[in-house]
Amino acid sequence: MNSPSLIQTQVLIIGGGVTGTALARDFALRGVACILVEKDDINAGASGRNHGLLHSGARYVAGDRAAAMECRAEGDILKRMAAQTIQDTGGYFVAVEGDDERYVADFPSLCARAGISARAVDIAAARALEPALSQRTIAVFEVPDASIDPFRLSLESMAQARSLGARLLRRSRVIGFEREGSRIRAVRVLSQAGGEELRIEAAQVVNAAGAWAREVCLLAGAPIGMTYSKGTLLVTHERLAGRVVNRLRPPSNADIMMPGGTVSIVGTTSTRVDALDDIRPTTAEADLIVAEAARMLPALATMRYIRAYAGVRPLVGTADAADGRAVSRGFALFDHEDQGLDNLATITGGKLTTCRLMAERAADLVCRRLGVIRPCLTAATPLPVAAECAWTEPGRSPRVWMRSHGLEDPLLCECEMVSGSAVDAIYAALRSAGDTPTLTDIGLRSRVGKGACQGAFCAVRTAAHFYSRGDFQASRGIDEIVDFIGERWRGQRAVLWGEQLAQAELMEALHCGLFGEELRGEELRGEELRDAGVPDAPPAAPAGEVSP
């Protein structure tokens, strides 16, 4: 194969999650040229598989006050600088009968010490505002929690970075480092799309691969200590509460329900995992969450769930605790100088709320190394709104569509009411960046497939839409439908009971019963059916199967 093409830049960022994109923006604002390589897509990892909580910090006041105060400070910054990605819903901390009364008693003072406002709320008043709260509620405190849309945050950060010259290489996996003494001369990247290989020469390399940071470090020959904690969340069919509802007790399973726009998100679990491949929610985790969360919000016991998802928290340092909760949720920045590398930095750990700060710290280090003196601007520069990035906000599409009603703008996704024009806008934006957008890309950047039907209908409509616009050719559509639904399936599988099981059955009746997608290999060859004719001739029994 011919020698890989070469790209040169100042800084190479590895990983397109909230930290990586925040880094790209940070560098771009400082005028530092950078390239971001992402093995999959924006927020494909933990950044896109969390509950989207903008922590007030109250969750950590007991265990980790530093983290708590960090959250409070960063939360305030994001509320000012990235307002469009945040719904300031406010949050409740709720204790129910049987919860640790001492913890409840200490909570207000602990919050006060961390500088977090926690107002005691009359239980009846709280239940009037949030009827879903249990009758067995014994204490309610109001805290400045909010919900944040991590996809929009990353997409818009990247959009601004790009507008300032940064480059994004999606579906490009780092496969090796070329070391030269204490320096990394180049990073070898394999683009999954074309299968072509790239050499990227950068003065500095930042590893922001989140959970995959350890693998990247190993490739670079500078191992770090990390553990993985898998967290699973469930998505309800309807939104159950207006505010964030936290369980007022030490961090544990199923202690939060987030308002996810038009749905509620219930979680989370925390289990140690050692491998990162094939992380998916299990039925056991779903059961655990439903049983536990229903004590705080009884309706969750009978609620219809439309999907589950699981992400991996990168935890820095090695803990023995089985669930990894004991390990700090603070972040870690490695300069790798003790490992004899002076142009690699690794930033990992931490949490969504502190992603900007993580980027700032890492960028400061890199800039110091580059001799760039310009300060970080992200704490004072509002994140510009990018129209094509706004479609991940739940409940927005219907409004926009209703405004454009009467124009020829059909809905492609009925559940979340995403219109053709929205899909076209996303498609155009990706196209202009030289991408070939897939249904899955559209799904990540919009609400398509996020609703009750989980892609059963909208995947078909969207594919038909793209064919009719001439965007799809050949038999690609079927593969895309299959990929899209397959990806959705990962999340559905764990919550398939009751109504959602009926929904899934309908999906299979359509995609297998009618379309026969599972047979497409056989069918698309369009060759003769296999059994040769004579109706009653016994067909050759397949090996290993003996008729009784």
Binding site: A284, E408, A474, F515, L524
Partner: protein, 437 residues
Amino acid sequence: MTGARRDSFDVAVIGAGMAGMAAALFAAERGLSCIQIGNGGSLLFASGLLDLLGVHPVAERRLWQSPYAALAALAREQPLHPLARVDAHSIRAAFESFVTALAAAGLAYAPLGERNRKLLTSIGTIKTTFGVPLSMVAGTGVLDARPPCLLVDFRGLREFSAAQIAATLGRSWPGLRHQRIEFPGCEGAPELYAAHLARALETRETRARTVALVQPLLGDAQAVGFPAVLGLARAREVHAAFEAGLGVPVFEIPTMPTSVPGLRLLSALEAMLSARGVRRRHQASVRALAFDAHAGTATLELEGISGGAGGERVFARAVVLATGRFTGRGLTADRGGVRESILGLPVHQPGSREAWHQRDFLDPSGHAINRAGLEIDDAWRPLGASGKPAWPRLYAVGSILAHQDWMRSKCGSGLAIATAWAAMDQVALALGGTGAG
């Protein structure tokens, strides 16, 4: 002045999917008085195609040209499969009887014959099926011969793109063209709905205007395919008018729900049952089902029925469960497991929910939960906890039965029609009526 109403019947059929409809039809044909409870909703999801058996074994994705050969193989290899319990003769009789009744109700099917047919689907895959409505049958020949052919779609009918089918099959079918037209009278409408188009086409004027739009696009096409929207109650006339107007064979391509062929099937079946005096209770469900050993009658408490105090009570000498699976709500699944919805009959099912579904949606071997269902004895009677029939004259038919995966085997209609036929033979015998002729 009304209290709780009281009615007695030979047979009560619970469920109004394909199986329930077939059961009610066959009951009526056997001279049994029949009441049928439940709305025909799930028929709206039907494609109008009558599968018999297309794939076996599922895991091998093996397609069959002769459903009867496939059935023979199935009988040998999976004796517990409900279709393995019905002999080929009965299946032929059941299908004949079913499509004859449909034809009488205005929904004509192509002669059944002995072979499966291949059809285009709206996303460009090829579907193997058995019973094909006349309005679609031209498509099978076209698919085999692949002559120059035109596919037409309507802007605004979101789930159907002729371009998609043409592009998907283009490589192996060079003569396949596609054209998009505006549906007459709906110009500029952002969204169109299949059923509305179907009904609009029942007026001569709209029909003529549509044909006039397609006529100039014909070119060398030897057949024209449309989404399945060519008429509802007047489907036969609409299809005939299109063929006459265009001068070439015209065929419909099945679409995803809500499908017009499904609506046709529903109204044809309802008309068929009405004509045969089958009493129907739509939008109603059975709250309770009790059996009186001595009187030998079952008592059905209906809910959802209003008017007069006390709802409604129905008495029947035999009861047929045709309540379907999860979509039809014959089976109820909660986190703990699956149970039969009305009587809580034991359900054959995988051990834990983790085992219900494969990790990949399209896993060739299919999902274990789809083989869950009711176990029955040789007389189609579901077994109770004791392993004996739950009640001497309680029968179960259709997709609620265990040991089958109709979605993967492509045997949905076959399962419904064949099991209904066989079970109704048993009902007739038990009630001392006439067996199947």
